[in-house]
Symmetry: C2
Subunit: 205 residues, 2 copies
Amino acid sequence: MSITLTYPCRSSVEVATVLPYRATTDPAELAETAPIMEPRFPDRNDGDDLIELLFFAYRDFVADPDRILAEYGFGRAHHRVLHFVDRYPGLTIAELLDILRITKQSLNRVLKDLIEQGYIAQRTGTNDRRQRLLFCTEAGIRFAEELSRVQMRRVARALVDQPGRGATDDPGEALASAQGFLLAMIEPEERATVRRLMARRTKAA
Amino acid sequence: MSITLTYPCRSSVEVATVLPYRATTDPAELAETAPIMEPRFPDRNDGDDLIELLFFAYRDFVADPDRILAEYGFGRAHHRVLHFVDRYPGLTIAELLDILRITKQSLNRVLKDLIEQGYIAQRTGTNDRRQRLLFCTEAGIRFAEELSRVQMRRVARALVDQPGRGATDDPGEALASAQGFLLAMIEPEERATVRRLMARRTKAA
DNA sequence: GAGATATGTCAATAACACTGACTTATCCGT
DNA sequence: ACGGATAAGTCAGTGTTATTGACATATCTC
């Protein structure tokens, strides 16, 4: 029942025919429910390892800025808002809500803090005057930069430090494969949105 | 001042001589503070991209189990405890606290819920009777498995789905490089601990 | 002008974390 | 066997981040 197309050398991921989950009972829709190729881990430890590594990596990844934020009396939520507003100036509230996946009320609390303390400023939209476009102030840019620095350092080191990678290995490959993996971890329907967003970045090289 | 050892083809990570940060002012210790090779992104967009991708990947990664947990009336904190106890039966409270990086009080709240509802059981340590060894009950194992399944699926797909990867590419390589990157993201002093922990896994292949 | 949209705001609640202080049981070295 | 250290449990209070539901305002679009 499970056609293993596994690749020769080692246990990693196999592809098996599996009936895809459908929320419908509509016969017309179910008719087109052909078996699809569903990837599986022949050794579930490989999957568990990756799940745990993601947990540990994220744990330490957020610990860096947390230390700095505590000095300013802010939390992680403030960091996320500041980060995205810094990187995508002119972001609207709706866009920010879609990125962060929190409610308007949750966003408002932290956004209010950042505006009141002069890190973020609002401007009424020009095309659509209902929108509030968000921008970082000078202080906001500096703050975002300070937070970014520690995370940037960790990520840069991670690309170079990888055990098993020789000095001859191209870190550009490590970067590309990390980006590829992380992008593929994103919900498929959201990938285009993320790509579109990231294409809007304004920082100079 | 910044010696670029960048690799030919594309902009990714360069290595520059940088004075490492030292918390000390002790001259003896400072004397041995030789410049070390500090990796940098020549194009900071590469770093920012990776930081954001990690955010988005983690956001969607935890969203899967969140939906299931909500049905049971549990939260993320319960999932984390259940996951680690399931995978490392006999885990002690102290070990769990070190993994999760939360306080005893925070752990106790969720652990109590899981014990009261029959997903986790405690046994007094045999070597050291002060310790409480944690184990999943049958129900706990099933619950953990249900939560694991959706995350496993996302991770397995991510290794196969990666855009730019042809069908000829070895997903074993994708797995190895994702593991390498995530492990390298972990605080260096913690990597050994994580490796040691993961070597203790008990699940059959 | 009507309905949809973007934002802001009120009140109440829950999940998850923290600090600080204290207790109990057990282990280990002298 | 005593004393200090360690593992765990617990009490009370607090803060951050999130939630829901309801409603208000301004603006856009047709």
